[in-house]
């Protein structure tokens, strides 16, 4: 069954189902994670989350494991933090990462820091599933990435899978992890199909994935743009350029070793990310390489990111905003032409 292909959405659903079967402490909390709560049985599970990711969990595990919430992000996120600190292993869904502002205190000041502030006496095995990314014309409050901001917070871990296989394996690890993990699902990937084993497996946090080995330049890319970067690399491959593409799927902890080893071989770095550029994953990776592999560099590192603006609505504006395969290829060429 290794060749079985399922969607990113189904892979996440399967990880949730298997982990809920495996561990009775795993519960799911969020707005309309069932939908139609309190209605007759045939009308419940009307949504399964707005993207249908948690569909079917209510029927299988019942209302003590699947909790629809009022529209109260601060309330249920705080409850999830508190429940995690006192015995359960909650998976809380935040409908869009842009709504993080509503409940950030519960995550940044509470969930992320309880263990430290209590001198190691608490653990917070919480997973927050959330939707990131643009490209669906949803404008400034439903299209952001924001994981750089979350990666910035000590105490939180953060992953962003780019394909169904990683989605399942990383979610399993996130749920089993004893620290709070933000699990970022890209809105454009839900229908992406890929091979996913039916059996349960875990991909360790903190490990990047070398999607394509190469010798001329290292591209570190995140989430959906890892796929776009791969396309650009394949195109350049036809022109005789050997591009190594690394999917930095674990943002925190970051796989520094894989990135540094790659740059020390290729001597060139291009970082590709959909988050805005200031104080970001992209600038973080550039800083890492500048600090720890400066002498290996033969060219200034390049960053391919959106501009320092909110996400616009109109298609030509948003298409300008989100890095394209063409812009990535241009940056790779610029890196190859440049010389320190």
């Amino acid at each position: 069954m290794a060749n079985r292909e399922i969607t990113y959405r189904e892979a996440i659903n399967e990880a949730l189902r298997q982990e809920m079967e495996r561990d009775p402490d795993v519960i799911v909390i969020g707005e309309d994670v069932a939908g139609g709560a309190g209605l007759p049985p045939d009308m419940q599970d009307a949504f399964g989350g707005v993207f249908g990711v948690t569909k079917g969990l209510l029927g299988k595990f019942g209302p003590t494991r699947v909790w629809d919430t009022p529209i109260s992000e601060a309330g249920y996120m705080g409850a999830a933090v508190g429940a995690a600190a006192t015995g359960l292993r909650p998976v809380a869904e935040l409908m869009f990462v842009s709504f993080m502002g509503v409940c950030l205190d519960q995550l940044s000041n509470q969930g992320a820091k309880l263990r430290y502030m209590f001198g190691g006496k608490a653990k917070v095995p919480l997973t927050v599933r959330t939707v990131i990314g643009g490209g669906v014309r949803a404008a400034g409050q439903h299209s952001t990435i924001d994981y750089s901001m979350l990666t910035h917070i000590p105490g939180l871990k953060c992953v962003a899978p780019s394909n169904p296989y990683d989605a399942k394996g990383l979610l399993v690890s996130a749920i089993r992890d004893d620290d709070p993990v933000i699990f970022c699902e890209h809105i454009q990937l839900y229908n992406m199909k890929g091979p996913v084993p039916e059996e349960n497996y875990a991909i360790p946090l903190g490990k990047a994935h070398v999607m394509r080995p190469g010798t001329d330049v290292t591209v570190v890319a995140f989430s959906r743009l890892a796929l776009v970067a791969l396309k650009a690399a394949e195109q350049l491959g036809k022109e005789g350029v050997s591009v190594e593409v690394i999917d930095g799927r674990s943002l925190s902890p970051l796989d520094e070793e894989t990135i540094l080893a790659s740059v020390s071989r290729t001597h060139r770095l291009v970082v590709v990310d959909e988050d805005t550029p200031r104080c970001s994953m992209a600038s973080d990776v550039v800083a890492l390489v500048a600090r720890k592999a400066f002498l290996a560099l033969h060219a200034a590192p390049q960053m391919v990111t959106p501009p320092h603006t909110p996400v616009p609505y109109s298609p030509p504006l948003e298409d300008f905003y989100i890095p394209s395969s063409q812009k990535i290829a241009e940056a790779i060429r610029a890196s190859l032409e440049a010389r320190v």
Partner: protein, 323 residues
């Protein structure tokens, strides 16, 4: 029934009919993928938007929601600019940067539709504070759904406005569902208006399907606000005819329930009343209906023909100044 001038009655009918025509048109266009993005339609809730905005002027600010087209039209926004915005065109009210979630016109007192549930309540306290600081008689109003009353922002805004006696109307459009979740599951009291007791402000229930009931009760709340007596929480019992978003299969509610509200349709009810009481003539109503459909058709045509923004327009409007 409150006393209203014929001019005001005509205005109210025109706005309600225009909202319906706008939303019905979108309901028709969206499945054809004629415009990008998402839309949350407010058909069925017209009496609330218009009954409230009938008491407001351009200097009275309103904050709206993800379901905000009706509020914008009731506040006097141009449907041409709104439609162009939904089409993502450079002629749109936000130059194509905002879409349905972010329609605004500060000259008309519209502080924006909003993508964040409950975010409009604190914002509305802002223009109310301006009125207080400057000693004007302006008021502010915030529309929100019943789901938003479960947000911390609701609690904080009502308390703040009560403490500062801000001239704000908090207008809850209780349409029975937050997305797919029924109100009975998410709120354990029968009337959201009762939540006002917790803040020491009046809580008033209005029939959101009856324009005249909304108009009458809002009048009292607006006068209270303009006289410096502070905020009011209004709960309009209403219903949305369409799904949470366009494309929602609505598996969480019964068709019979929808029909029971359609039987009390706010526009039909209004028309029946003004005709039977001889307040407006049938010919006047029909002219308004035709005009509304023509205005929406013209808005669609203009939006489809309008230019898309230049890609680099993405970079403008982030700051006033930035080196």
């Amino acid at each position: 029934m409150p006393v209203m001038s014929q001019e005001k009655l005509l205005w109210a009918y025109e706005r309600m009919v225009l909202i319906r025509a706008f939303e019905d048109k979108l309901h028709q266009l969206i499945p054809q993928h004629r415009l990008p993005g998402f839309a949350h339609l407010s058909a069925g809730q017209e009496a609330v938007a218009v009954g409230l905005c009938a008491h407001l002027g351009d200097k009275d600010f309103v904050t709206s929601t993800h379901r905000g087209h009706g509020h914008c039209i009731a506040k006097g926004l141009d449907v041409g600019a709104m439609m162009a915005e939904l089409y993502g065109k450079s002629t749109g009210s936000s130059k194509g940067k905002g879409g349905s979630f972010h329609i605004a016109d500060l000259d008309r007192g519209m502080l924006g539709t909003n993508g964040i549930v409950g975010a409009g309540l604190p914002l509305a306290c802002g223009p109310a504070l301006v009125a207080k600081v400057r000693g004007t008689r302006q008021v502010a109003a915030s529309f929100f759904g019943e789901g938003a009353t479960n947000q911390g922002a609701f609690h904080e805004s009502l308390n703040l406005a009560a403490v500062w006696k801000l001239p704000v109307l908090f207008v809850c459009e209780n349409n029975l569902y937050s997305e797919a979740t029924p109100v009975e599951y998410a709120i354990k009291i029968k009337n959201i208006a009762d939540r006002a007791d917790a803040y020491g402000i009046p809580g008033v229930i209005v029939d959101g399907m009856d324009f005249f009931d909304v108009y009458d009760k809002v009048l009292q709340a607006v006068e209270r606000a303009r006289n410096g007596e502070g905020p009011t929480l209004l709960e309009a019992k209403t219903y949305r005819y369409f799904g949470h978003y366009e494309g929602d299969a609505m598996k969480y509610r019964a068709r019979e329930e929808e029909q029971s509200y359609r039987n009390r349709d706010p526009i039909t009810t209004f028309k029946r009343k003004v005709l039977s009481e001889g307040l407006l003539a049938a010919v006047e109503c029909e002219a308004i209906e035709k005009k509304a459909i023509a205005a929406v058709e013209a808005a669609v045509k203009a939006a489809e023909e309008a230019p898309l923004p230049h890609p680099e327009e993405c970079l403008t409007d982030v700051y006033v100044t930035y080196p």
